[in-house]
Amino acid sequence: MHRRGVGAGAIAKKKLAEAKYKERGTVLAEDQLAQMSKQLDMFKSNLEEFASKHKQEIRKNPEFRVQFQDMCATIGVDPLASGKGFWSEMLGVGDFYYELGVQIIEVCLALKHRNGGLITLEELHQQVLKGRGKFAQDVSQDDLIRAIKKLKALGTGFGIIPVGGTYLIQSVPAELNMDHTVVLQLAEKNGYVTVSDIKASLKWETERARQVLEHLLKEGLAWLDLQAPGEARYWLPALFTDLYSQEITAEEAREALP
């Protein structure tokens, strides 16, 4: 580490350098740094003013949160990067999402034994809402997705897999490649998938289909049902509640299935 030179000689040298730079029209980095420091202070007070008027809006309005996040992303700012950031400190967005992160982790851990670490966004949403209790602030699915994206930094395999219009949230570091996710998407319709389903929809060979299904079995994401009529079915517990949380009667169940 070297200190900027002191003494007459150093001053002269500096003056020379400044002159040279000024000739070329460039600004010295340390001058810009000073400028940034001033602008930062100004920005901080602008943000404080904004917060005093609109902090509630962010707290209560998920649409506004989405807009806010999108705007930040467009200009290259991440309001959730640090709890020490201005955004977090003054608008309170940080605590909201970081706490949500903790709740998401806890729900995934609690249900892992059942679904192997894969859960639909819907079910995660319901469970998180339940856990938060009646007096907590409501959260939207978009809020969950943003919190999960941040959790990826912790290195333990949080992933977001798009399936049929919604998302599956992966919370264990199981390796899922394109083949696996495509089969998951196929299974979303009925909660299960068979080798024939895969061959018919995806036009794969038997071996490829079987390998993918075996991998899902191994990772605990799929359950094998050998008692199904016809051929063996591979059920995805993660997708169960989508179908069965509706508490439909036997009559409706008969009519709903194809």
Partner: protein
């Protein structure tokens, strides 16, 4: 009202606890939205079930939650048509109902209900039984005077709310313009630091990084948001070392970063750490000579371990345990030793990497055996 059959499937489920139907509460039920109707079923008595066709709905609005009050959706209805089938009430003076969401879910439900109201799918898909509908030449535009007045008031209120939001958006946009200037400036500075134009001291570099941290701007040089190595992260690292000593000892000297994140944030209660804050602080542990360190396994899993914890030594005892039992899966091993499955797996994998264990990878799962190829020639 009795149950009707419908032809299209259920759309969504949400939990509601109370419907205030015409002044009298029905408690604790589930609200279902289908493409044709809004259905309420009592949670205790599944036989008790009411439905309102979506075509009867004029307008819906949200009522935010308040102190002691849950969030509500107010549903404004047409007057009952003369051929309506029997229901819980023969007549009522109110033309709206309030759905009270005691267990949240109001945002999603409102969104879905609005979608259905816009799409009006019930008009395209006829229902098999004689479901009473309000089909006239124009779907349900015959109103009583009272409703018109209510609608107008609601429209005004909605405009007012919209105005508040648009003001907020305007202010936000102005703010973003200023923020963007800062981003540009920081890029310029970072380039200069890289090219060494001017005379930047190390102190100033550190100051610069803390500016980036405050604004949430990614460090253009290292690409890490907020960059590691700011004062804040150093302080944080020291705090963590103090906070995690005991929990680590209780857990056998090692914890996954997710566990640490939950533990630390639950303890703080307020001013929580972001995941990136935690990672950046942990990266500094070793450099600051603190008694903990961050370790990244091959799989990408990140853990914090005590300096005194030697994972390699733990491998030796893991080998003993596996040998005793003949073979073990990660789950079995985790249960025996009393650690999380994630870390158990990592330990077994490390043992395998060191040549002490062999794997048996099958459909039944991943099982580890002592590596007899090594020990028995």
């Amino acid at each position: 009202m009795d149950r009707f059959l419908w032809t299209s499937g259920l759309l969504e489920i949400n939990e509601t606890l109370v419907i205030q139907q015409r002044g009298i509460k029905f408690d604790a039920g589930t609200l279902l939205l289908s493409t044709h109707r809004l259905i309420w079923r009592d949670q205790k008595n599944h036989e008790c079930c009411m439905a309102i066709p979506l075509s009867q709905i004029v307008f819906i609005e949200e009522q935010a939650a308040g102190i002691g009050k849950s969030a509500k959706i107010v549903v404004h209805l047409h007057p009952a048509p003369p051929n309506k089938e029997p229901g819980p009430f023969q007549s009522s003076k109110n033309s709206y109902i309030k759905l009270s969401f005691k267990e949240h879910g109001q945002i999603e439900f409102y969104r879905r209900l609005s979608e259905e109201m816009t799409q009006r799918r019930w008009e395209n898909m006829p229902v098999s039984q004689s479901l009473q509908t309000n089909r006239g030449p124009q779907p349900g535009r015959i109103r009583a005077v009272g409703i018109v007045g209510i609608e107008r008031k609601l429209e005004e209120k909605r405009k007012e709310t919209d105005k508040n939001i648009s003001e907020a958006f305007e202010d936000l946009s102005k703010l973003m313009v200023k923020a963007k200037e800062m981003v540009e400036l920081s890029k310029s500075i970072a380039n200069k630091i890289k090219d060494k134009q001017g005379d930047i001291t190390e102190d100033e570099t550190i100051r610069f990084k803390s500016y980036l941290l405050s604004m949430g701007i990614a460090n253009p040089v290292t690409r890490e948001t907020c960059g590691s190595g700011t004062q804040y992260h150093m302080q944080l690292a020291k705090q963590l070392a103090g906070m995690l000593q005991v929990p680590l000892e209780e857990r056998g000297g090692i914890m996954s970063l997710t566990e640490v994140y939950c533990l630390v944030n639950r303890a703080r209660g307020m001013e929580l750490l972001s995941p990136e804050d935690l990672v950046n602080a942990c990266k500094m542990l070793e450099a600051l000579k603190l008694p903990l360190r961050l370790r990244v396994f091959d799989s990408g899993v990140m853990v914090i371990e005590l300096q005194s914890h030697k994972e390699e030594e733990m491998v030796a005892s893991a080998l003993e345990t596996v040998s005793e039992k003949g073979s073990l899966t990660s789950e079995e091993f985790a249960k025996l030793v009393g650690m999380s499955v994630l870390l158990a797996k990592e330990r077994l994998l490390l043992a395998e990497k060191m040549g002490h264990l062999c794997r048996d990878d099958s459909v039944e799962g991943l099982r580890f055996y002592p590596n007899l190829f090594m020990t028995q020639s």
